[in-house]
Point group: C2
Chain length 349, copies 2
């Protein structure tokens, strides 16, 4: 689908677990995904990490040197401003200079947002970039994108309208849902339900013919599979995201505690070990890749700070898919007055 | 602990499943809990339902006749105003006239709130009553009360401060947590995080010495067991409540789908059936009773519309506990300037 091979800048210094796991994920991605990786960080450290993977195919990986990182302790904006050579800033600069089409960061999400805003700005017509997270649903092969999950805690109705548009484009062209259904997080089904933000947003979404809005989504509907795109403000979305991650872990914990109860339980659980791994895989957020920063003029994936190599691999895979499906071009194209549907318009523009 | 035997009015007409399950739950409660039940509804129907339980001990049950119900279709306030003899209104009147100390309803929660407000008013000093829901946590024997889960979608900081106080009293005297820890739902741990409501509420909670506020609770902390009381506005709380209920069901569904996978899976799952029931029990919200309307001058429990007999039983049990522990007196006492701790003050007042 893409005319050129995707080139992705990976901030190798940002994660909580050090550059080792990020380099491991990047090596696997460069080998399996048909992409080029620009590994941004301290050259000496990264060369040593690469050398640890003796015999791995690293010909698609290039190191781009940076100095320092923006840490969790300093304010995101302050840190990003004070350290122009920090890894996240260097990674964004690669995108700005068109040397890469996307960035993957496992660092401070505030820092990634601040660096993206300062280096890249916003897509014209988008007031606030949003963070989208892809969740598993009730159905094994169906996902839902929820946005915003944390970029904007106080929102205006028009921001949510823009989130709905970006979510629709993502659902349609990256998740390949033919006719995405958009829902608005609310406390009831009726148009008149909810807080001021929800009631006003409901009106805007109903009027916008480009948004396949099907109505309010209550808490129980978020993962039901009835919706493909769920919009809410970044406060509600962030609470939901972190709640969902924890509930998954708590449920696995309860299953692990209660299943082996008694003699029958011990025998039964031993037999079932492989299936418990399957359950974990279906629930585990890490399997579903990182979160996306939508609304900036480049693909930007924010992985969990605690990400291990498989999550990094998945985040890079998501970046490649977003690049291949021209997600940024499509949002820009729509904001300039183009339609969502005409792929050819995008290709020619 | 209570000086008198609790008398509880049960709205028998409100649930989605008809009066049969409510009567069944009430019969069990009257027999097992050492309480009196006033069963409110159509006399003929209720007598017939009671007759179905041939041989059951129903001497602690009295039927109080009502006419009609407030349905889901009509606006809550309109319905409650238009039908003074509806079951929910008659139940509230019993409390108002001191013929009962508490009400249990499985009907339209909006109708229960409206009827309580109109009949009973609010406790002095409480601007907005809140709905509190008790959730299971990571730990088998520990619960957390979350409020508000839906009564107030647009909140001011002082409402949340009042919710925190009522939650503290409930945690301490009904859930019997010696030193409850109160958390504020937010998107980060720092005091400066969050939307305007969260930032202002953080300041109020920090300053109020009667509230054992320990800081912000992120989505992942809600069920971690680190907090005993969690406060948020009714929009966020309602979305969380319904999300949590659904996630529990989705997880059980995934476990049921994946556990029996393959031959080993089939054998193992068959052996494990009793333990799967244990898991369901621990997760299932119905086991944890109904939600509480706190801030009105009577104990008022709102059970799920879809409640079955065990949920009704649990809701009545929660009502009895709240009455026995003088939860309303304690909130009133505090609002009049008394302390939270001096039980004797409450008893004497």
């Amino acid at each position: 689908m893409a005319s050129t091979r995707a080139k992705i800048a990976v901030d190798a210094m940002g994660g909580d677990r050090g550059p080792g796991v990020i380099v491991a994920g990047a090596i696997r991605a460069a080998a399996e995904l048909d992409i080029d990786v620009l590994l941004v960080g301290d050259s000496q450290i990264l060369e040593a990490e690469l050398a640890n993977h003796d015999g791995a195919n690293i010909q698609n990986i290039e190191i781009v040197p940076s100095e320092g990182v923006v840490s969790m302790d300093e304010g995101a904006l302050t840190g990003v401003r004070r350290k122009p050579k920090a890894s996240i800033n260097v990674a964004m600069k690669l995108v700005k200079e068109k040397r890469a089409q996307g960035v993957v960061s496992a660092g401070h999400s505030g820092a990634a947002m601040a660096a993206a805003s300062l280096s890249l700005g916003r897509i014209k017509g988008i007031d606030r970039p949003a963070i989208g997270a892809v969740f598993p649903t009730m159905y094994a092969n169906k996902s839902v994108i929820v946005l915003d999950v944390g970029a904007n805690v106080d929102c205006k109705p028009k921001y949510l309208e823009q989130f709905a548009l970006m979510g629709t484009i993502y659902s349609k062209y990256v998740l390949e849902v033919e006719e995405p259904k958009v829902g608005l997080v609310n406390i009831g089904e009726e148009a008149t339900k909810g807080n001021e933000l929800a009631k006003e947003t409901y009106k805007l979404l109903s009027k916008n013919s480009a948004i396949p809005f099907v109505g309010n989504a209550e808490g129980r509907d978020v993962l039901s599979g009835d919706f493909d795109v769920i919009v809410c403000d970044g406060f509600v979305g962030n609470v939901l995201l972190k709640f969902a991650e924890a509930v998954g872990e708590i449920m696995l914990q309860i299953v692990k505690e209660e299943l082996p109860f008694g003699v029958r339980g011990k025998v039964g659980s031993a037999v079932l070990k492989p299936n418990l791994r399957r359950i974990k895989q279906r629930i585990d957020h890490a399997e579903h890749g990182g979160a996306l920063l939508l609304g900036v003029p480049a693909v930007c994936i924010i992985s969990h700070g605690s990400s291990q190599a498989p999550s990094i691999f998945n985040a890079i895979r998501v970046a490649k898919e977003a690049i291949d499906h021209q997600i940024v071009d499509r949002i820009q194209h729509y904001q300039k007055g183009g339609s969502l549907d005409l792929v050819s318009e995008v290709k020619e523009s």
